[in-house]
Structures are given as structure tokens and as C-alpha cells.
């Protein structure tokens, strides 16, 4: 037996390997990103034959896993919850068609949100796609659920979702495990066009069969302890009970233990869909009122049919938005208990006074910012310098932080940097206004969902400048390898894809490649490119702004280190730390001048080019 203080995503990876998952695909996104690298680690350590890939996007990941599963293998794909939107087309179809080998979809939710555009609840997507779903309450339980999910998926030939929330993914727990072994099931796709390529007539039949499966799975979920269970004493009635699942179920159990409230029964639904009707009815029958505490939407609450007995989001007892952190759950419980005429858990103010006090301290606002030396910062500086009045549609990645620099006006979803650029063009050109538009997008995002938008824009003759911020890596989510570099996650070589070739293939004629560290050159190139955009015989222009990520390529990103100092000429205008926002440039409150923080400075030398007073010099 080994024991590790495993990240929740590591526990999920362990569960995948213990369940004999043979094919794993994923696209990175917080909080899911570490699952795949952890699978690589376990797989290598135990010399397993697992096939593991970073796919180009989530839909690609899903389809690859699905094909493996209908060939009889155990397959899984993992993604963040908004990634599941990208895979939604396949996802919705998959339960109708079903699978042979187990297919598990791991969709990681981000209540808060901490690092996402929405707080959407993947369990709702599961319900929409008629896919059974598990909602783990701890890393250890997530690991166990993965195995149960594979077994269920094979028993009923239906894909199964596991939905860990961020507090599973980025929790850590000490976990013991034994020997891992390869699953040697061979691919054996059996042709059956009425199933695998079914027409609408057969889809109806498949839908009916799926609904029948759901009744059976619901029956199974009625007794699926310890995931689904209550602690009612027989022939006892209660004035108040709690229905919960996932992370909140752990918090509720901790609270009741701490405050010794054995008088309040709990119905835990770790497998909430298909809804375990009988189990829920038993609980509802025994309680006068129930409070539903679930994250992040109203999945269980809607499925409980007696609304007059039910407290939760719909009754205003549980916040409709934000993460249900433990102190919030205690507040919710105290209020609901009070409303039902019962004693609260405590008279604690749950830190409210202290939070108020801290709010009044005017602590430094620590907004996330681009790293010192980040090539995106130099790119954004030059774009703004060249075309200050443009609209700047951007996208999702580290460079979203360009909003601090005033060069990110919109962020909608992966790929929208380009599609919104064409949308803005169309909106203005209808009024005969040639609005300057500069879209920015990272290399990984461009491969994920940039090309369709670019092809569409070229075809429909939209006009804008696209700057692809090519840092050779997917940085924000933890330095996953880029397609342009040809390195695959398990260390094997892939076939690198050239950005220039793809852009040209999308129909763009004007392509310039440059290094953003030379801001003078980039400013001129942006101006020249915009002239092409504006030329009646011109078209869309693309600049590939290429410089390796200073974190991902620590050794090579800055081949020529330039040590700098700030001279007496500094007049405290603050441009370098407030507008250019280099974290290594800090204001000395005593001298009222900028200083270089030697611990943070990576000696990129870009500040030599940007100081409005020329007060930065080489040492």
C-alpha cells in the first residue's frame, strides 16, 4: 500500500486507473486540468498501457472517448463545466446511442466562480442529456464513484457523468492505494448502423429504451449506499430535515457533528439523477419541512415534488449565486431552523463582524495580473499604442488579464475573440462606419475554436486585425503543451502544426510574424496591418506575436537578460506599474520613485522601451 496527500484531481485520476480506464482525453480548464497529468503520472509509475491525449477541444475529446467506448473499451473524457458546452452536441446524442465499454464524462464545476465565466451546474446538463450523474463529497469518494460510474455505464450501456466541484478537484486528502494493472480489453467495434448511425425513426426507439433504463437506474439509486442514503430512524417523524449532496453534504455533516445535532436527519444524494424517487419519498414523508442544500443550481430541489414542504433556493433560504462555503451554509441552516421554530446550530455571527472590520482596512486590492516579463504585456502595450481607439474583442487565457491594460473589451467564450470581431465589423459597416477592430487570441484557444470563426470572417469579407498571442503553451491552466510544439503529454512526439499554415489555409493572405519584445517594431507592424485591413483591396490581417511563455520556458524565454535600474529622471508618473502593470516595478513610498524588485524582475528589458520619461536604464 502506498499513501499520498493527493489532489482531488489526483484521486480522480487514481479512480480512473483503478477502474481500468484505457483511453483518456481532455482539454485543460480550471478546475479540471490536473486530472490528465495525474493519470500520466500513475500510468507511468505502474507501467500501464493507458492511451492519454490532450485533445484540441472538449468536443474532440468527447468524440474520441465515445468511439473507444463503442469499440468496447473503458474510456473517459474530462473537462471544466463550460468545456462541456463545447462538447454538448455529442454529449446530448450519446445517451440515446449508448456505449459498450464504460464511458465516463468528468465535468468539473466552479461555484464562485473562481476561474470561469459562469457558475453553471453540470448536473443540469446531465439531466438535459439524460445522462446519470454522480456528485462526490470528498476526493476519496470521487475516486470510488469513478469505479461505480464505469460499472453502471457498462451495465446499462449509457454514458455516466461524474461532477466534481472545485472543492473536490483542488482539495487534498491522504489516500492509500495498492497495485494498478492495465486493462487489456481489445477494441472490437461491431457494425450496427441502426444503432451507431441511427436515423430519427430509430432515435425515437432509442429514446424510449433510454427512458426505460432510467427507471431501472433510479431504482438502483434508491439503495446505492453510501452515495445515496438517509439516517432516519424507523417510525420517527421529524420537524426538519436536510437534503444535500456533493461538497455541501460534507459541510452539513461536519456541522451537525460539531454541534451535536443528531435531531436533524440528512438525506444525502451523491447520485441525484435519475432521481431516487422512493428514497426521497421516505425522507419527505418523515419530515415536516426539508431544506435543500446543493451546489450550484436547483437540481434536487426541482425534483422534490412537494414544494410546500421544501426550503431552498426557490424559497429564498439559499443564495442563488456564489459558492456555498461553510460559514454560508451555517447561516442558511440557522435561518431555516429558526423559521421552523427550532434552535439554531449556534449564535455565531460566522465572521460577519470580522469581515466588516477587514473590509474597512483598505487592504491592497490584489487583482490577478500578467507575470513579469510576460510577452502578452508587451503585445498589449504595442497594440494600444498603435490603435488606441479600436474595439478590442479578446478571449480566454492568461491574456484575458489584458483587460487591466485596457486592451480587452470583451470576453464571451472560447473563440469569440474572432467571431465578435466580425460581429462588431458587421454592426458598424451597416452604418458605413469602418470601425478599427483588433482581436486577440492565444495559440491554444485559436486551435480550440478560432479557425471556424476566421474562415467565416474571411468568407463574409469582415475586416479586422487578429493578433494571435503565440507563447508556445497553454499557460493559464498549468502549462499544457501547445500543438505548435509537437510535444504530447506522455512525452512522446506528436506532429507539430504551424499556425502560419492554418491561418493561410483559412484564407488569410496578410500574415506577419514578430517578437513582441521589440515594441517599436510591433507598433509599426500593427499600423501597417491595419492599413491592409482598411484598404478596399485588402482584407483580414493576422499578426502572430510569438515569444515563449516566461514561466513555461524559464530557461530559454529570455536569451539575453537585461538588468535595469530606474534613474533620477523618474517623475512618479506611475505608467510602468499602474498602466503597463509590471509587477516587478514598484513605487517606493519614501523616495516617491519607481524601483525594480529584483526578486520579481526577470530581466526582459521591455521596460526600457516603455517608460514615458526614459528613466529606465541598463545597469
Amino acid at each position: 500500500m502506498k499513501e499520498e496527500f493527493l489532489l482531488g484531481n489526483g484521486a480522480i485520476a487514481l479512480g480512473l486507473m483503478e477502474a481500468g480506464c484505457q483511453i483518456l482525453t481532455s482539454y485543460p480548464g480550471t478546475p479540471s486540468s490536473e486530472i490528465l497529468p495525474e493519470v500520466v503520472r500513475f500510468s507511468k509509475a505502474a507501467n500501464l498501457n493507458t492511451s492519454i491525449e490532450w485533445s484540441v477541444n472538449e468536443k474532440v475529446a468527447f468524440d474520441n472517448a465515445f468511439a473507444a467506448a463503442i469499440s468496447g473499451k473503458r474510456a473517459a473524457c474530462c473537462m471544466k463545466m463550460v468545456g462541456l458546452n463545447v462538447a454538448a452536441d455529442s454529449f446530448m446524442s450519446s445517451a440515446y446511442i449508448g456505449n459498450i465499454g464504460g464511458l465516463v464524462i468528468i465535468s468539473c464545476d466552479d461555484p464562485g466562480p473562481h476561474s470561469s465565466q459562469t457558475e453553471q451546474d453540470s448536473r443540469l446538463m446531465a439531466r438535459l442529456g439524460k445522462i446519470p450523474v454522480f456528485d462526490p463529497s470528498s476526493p476519496e469518494e470521487a475516486r470510488e464513484m469513478i469505479k461505480t460510474a464505469f460499472d453502471l455505464s457498462e451495465e446499462f450501456q449509457v454514458p455516466v457523468m461524474v461532477r466534481p466541484a472545485i472543492r473536490i478537484c483542488h482539495a487534498r486528502q491522504n489516500i492509500q492505494y495498492g497495485i494498478l494493472e492495465s486493462n487489456l480489453t481489445k477494441a472490437d467495434f461491431k457494425k450496427e448502423p441502426t444503432r451507431w448511425a441511427s436515423t430519427p425513426k430509430f432515435r425515437f426507439i432509442q429514446h424510449k429504451a433510454l427512458n426505460e433504463k432510467h427507471l431501472k437506474i433510479s431504482e438502483k439509486f434508491n439503495t446505492l449506499t453510501p452515495y445515496n442514503m438517509h439516517n432516519l430512524k424507523s417510525k420517527t417523524s421529524y420537524p426538519f430535515g436536510v437534503v444535500t449532496g456533493g461538497i455541501p453534504s460534507s459541510v452539513v455533516q461536519d456541522l451537525f457533528e460539531e454541534y451535536e445535532r443528531i435531531d436533524i436527519p440528512i438525506l444525502k444524494l451523491g447520485a441525484p439523477y435519475p432521481f431516487p424517487e422512493k428514497l426521497a419519498d421516505e425522507f419527505m414523508d418523515a419530515c415536516d419541512k426539508v431544506l435543500v442544500i446543493e451546489e450550484t443550481d436547483t437540481v434536487i430541489e426541482y425534483m422534490l415534488r412537494d414544494k410546500r414542504k421544501t426550503l431552498g433556493r426557490l424559497s429564498g433560504h439559499v443564495p442563488m449565486e456564489g459558492e456555498l462555503v461553510p460559514e454560508k451554509i451555517e447561516i442558511v441552516l440557522n435561518k431555516a431552523l429558526g423559521d421552523c421554530g427550532l434552535a439554531p446550530l449556534s449564535d455565531s455571527d460566522n465572521g460577519l463582524e470580522a469581515f466588516d472590520l477587514v473590509g474597512g482596512l483598505e487592504l491592497p486590492i490584489r487583482k490577478p495580473t500578467l507575470c513579469p516579463g510576460c510577452p502578452h504585456r508587451a503585445s498589449f502595450y504595442s497594440i494600444r499604442k498603435a490603435l488606441p481607439k479600436a474595439i478590442f474583442p479578446s478571449d480566454i487565457g492568461c491574456y484575458t488579464l489584458g483587460s487591466n491594460l485596457g486592451v480587452v473589451d470583451t470576453v464571451l467564450d472560447m473563440g469569440a475573440g474572432i467571431t465578435m470581431a466580425s460581429g462588431f465589423w458587421n454592426a458598424y459597416i451597416q452604418d458605413d462606419v469602418k470601425k478599427p477592430i483588433v482581436a486577440t487570441m492565444g495559440d491554444s484557444t485559436f486551435f480550440h475554436s478560432g479557425t471556424t470563426g476566421l474562415i467565416n470572417a474571411v468568407y463574409n469579407d469582415s475586416r479586422f486585425l487578429l493578433v494571435i498571442l503565440d507563447n508556445h503553451i497553454t499557460a493559464m491552466t498549468g502549462m499544457q503543451p501547445s500543438i505548435t510544439q509537437g510535444d504530447r503529454v506522455d512525452g512522446r512526439k506528436g506532429n507539430p502544426i504551424s499556425l502560419e499554415t492554418i491561418v493561410k489555409g483559412c484564407g488569410v493572405d496578410y500574415i506577419k510574424v514578430l517578437d513582441p519584445y521589440d515594441t517599436k517594431n510591433m507598433i509599426q507592424e500593427v499600423k501597417d496591418a491595419y492599413a491592409h485591413v482598411n484598404d478596399p483591396d485588402g482584407g483580414i490581417a493576422v499578426i502572430i506575436s510569438r515569444h515563449p511563455c516566461v514561466i513555461g520556458f524559464k530557461e530559454t524565454a529570455i536569451p539575453e537578460k537585461i538588468e535595469v535600474l530606474v534613474t533620477e529622471d523618474c517623475d512618479d508618473c506611475g505608467f510602468c506599474h499602474l498602466r503597463f502593470e509590471c509587477p516587478a516595478m514598484v513605487r517606493n513610498e519614501e523616495t516617491e520613485k519607481t524601483e525594480i524588485n529584483p526578486v520579481l524582475c526577470v530581466q526582459c528589458g521591455v521596460c526600457l522601451q516603455i517608460c514615458p520619461k526614459d528613466a529606465v536604464e541598463k545597469v
Partner: protein, 190 residues
């Protein structure tokens, strides 16, 4: 056993996760169950970073506001930011200058909550000893000197010894011993 709750706070890049690892490994070696909650993703880029560590048999990884036994912070502002997590009678350890600490605006609250704040210029000490990035280690050593909680100083030191790579071992242990000694003297004076 009763769950013991640590909140560790600081800034992105200060090595909060490394500090968590030292405490967690020590607890694991003693046979305790441990749960932790980390900050990843966007918040890591220069933002405020917090890590929760629970030693004992809790189920949920997050520590409730008002329930932490110890708050160890690598930055003075980040110590104040997470003050609401400390329970009545909890202990605060901050990387800060002893003279100006704590901020007069929080003194009354600390008194009322019977929270005793303790400060060490851990960043400065680590820099003077030649390893400015070891503030995290320095604060663990400082904490270890007060003999509170389920982890002994000797065990924490042994963990630092075992996880420090060869070239850094000597330096890390020197920082540990120096900061532990600083804390030990402060504890004696109390």
C-alpha cells in the same frame, strides 16, 4: 481526535503550497488524516493565495470562518485579510515587523477574540541568510517554536530535511533552525 484547522495565506509566488506540504507531510507521517483546500488558476497570478489544512477526521476541506486554530501568513496584509477565519483564542503568526504589528485598527478585535498575534520578519531573515524565496519555510519554523498544535518542531524539521533537494538541504535547515530559535526566545519572553 478533534480536528485542528490551519489557514495559510500569502501572495501568489510565495510558496504557500510548499508550506502546506511541509505541515501535511508531517501530519501524515504521524498517522493523522488530513484534508486541504488550495487556490489554483487565475487567482494564482499575483493574487491573494490561501490554503486550508485540516488535521483530523473532518469531511469538508474548507475551514469555516471563525473556526481556524492557526493562521500563518507570509504577508502582513494577507494576515489581516484572513483574520475572520481565526476562532476565539486562535493564534496568528505573520511575516511582519514586530514593532508596527499588529495594525492598531485590529488590536481591539484581537483582544476581544483573545487572539495573540506573533510576528517575525521572516522574509528579511530568509533574505539575510541567502534564500529570499524561503519565507514560507521560515514561517513554519517560527510557528514550530510555540509548541502548539499536533505537530512537533522536531517532526517538522525532519520533514524539511527529507523533502529538501540535496543542494538546498543545508540552507533550508539553517533557516529552519534560525527562525525556530527566534520563535523559541519570543515564546520564553511571553
Amino acid at each position: 481526535m478533534k480536528t485542528i484547522n490551519f489557514v495559510l495565506s500569502g501572495l501568489g509566488g510565495q510558496g504557500i503550497l510548499f508550506m502546506t506540504k511541509i505541515l501535511a507531510m508531517t501530519a501524515q507521517n504521524k498517522g493523522f488524516n488530513i484534508l486541504g483546500a488550495e487556490t489554483h488558476g487565475m487567482a494564482q497570478r499575483g493574487g491573494s493565495v490561501v490554503s486550508h489544512l485540516r488535521i483530523g477526521d473532518a469531511r469538508s476541506s474548507l475551514i469555516r470562518a471563525g473556526a481556524a486554530d492557526f493562521l500563518i501568513s507570509l504577508d502582513e496584509s494577507e494576515a489581516y485579510r484572513y483574520l475572520p477565519y481565526l476562532k476565539k483564542g486562535g493564534m496568528l503568526f505573520a511575516n511582519a515587523g514586530a514593532r508596527a504589528f499588529p495594525d492598531s485598527k485590529v488590536v481591539e478585535y484581537l483582544d476581544q477574540m483573545q487572539i495573540k498575534p506573533r510576528a517575525m520578519e521572516a522574509g528579511k531573515t530568509a533574505m539575510e541568510l541567502g534564500s529570499p524565496k524561503s519565507t514560507n519555510l521560515a514561517m513554519v519554523a517560527f510557528y514550530s517554536a510555540f509548541g502548539v498544535g499536533p505537530l512537533d518542531a522536531d517532526d517538522l524539521r525532519a520533514t524539511v530535511d527529507s523533502i529538501s533537494p540535496g543542494p538546498f538541504k543545508k540552507m533550508n535547515l539553517k533557516i529552519f533552525d534560525t527562525c525556530h530559535e527566534f520563535g523559541r526566545k519570543m515564546n520564553l519572553e511571553d
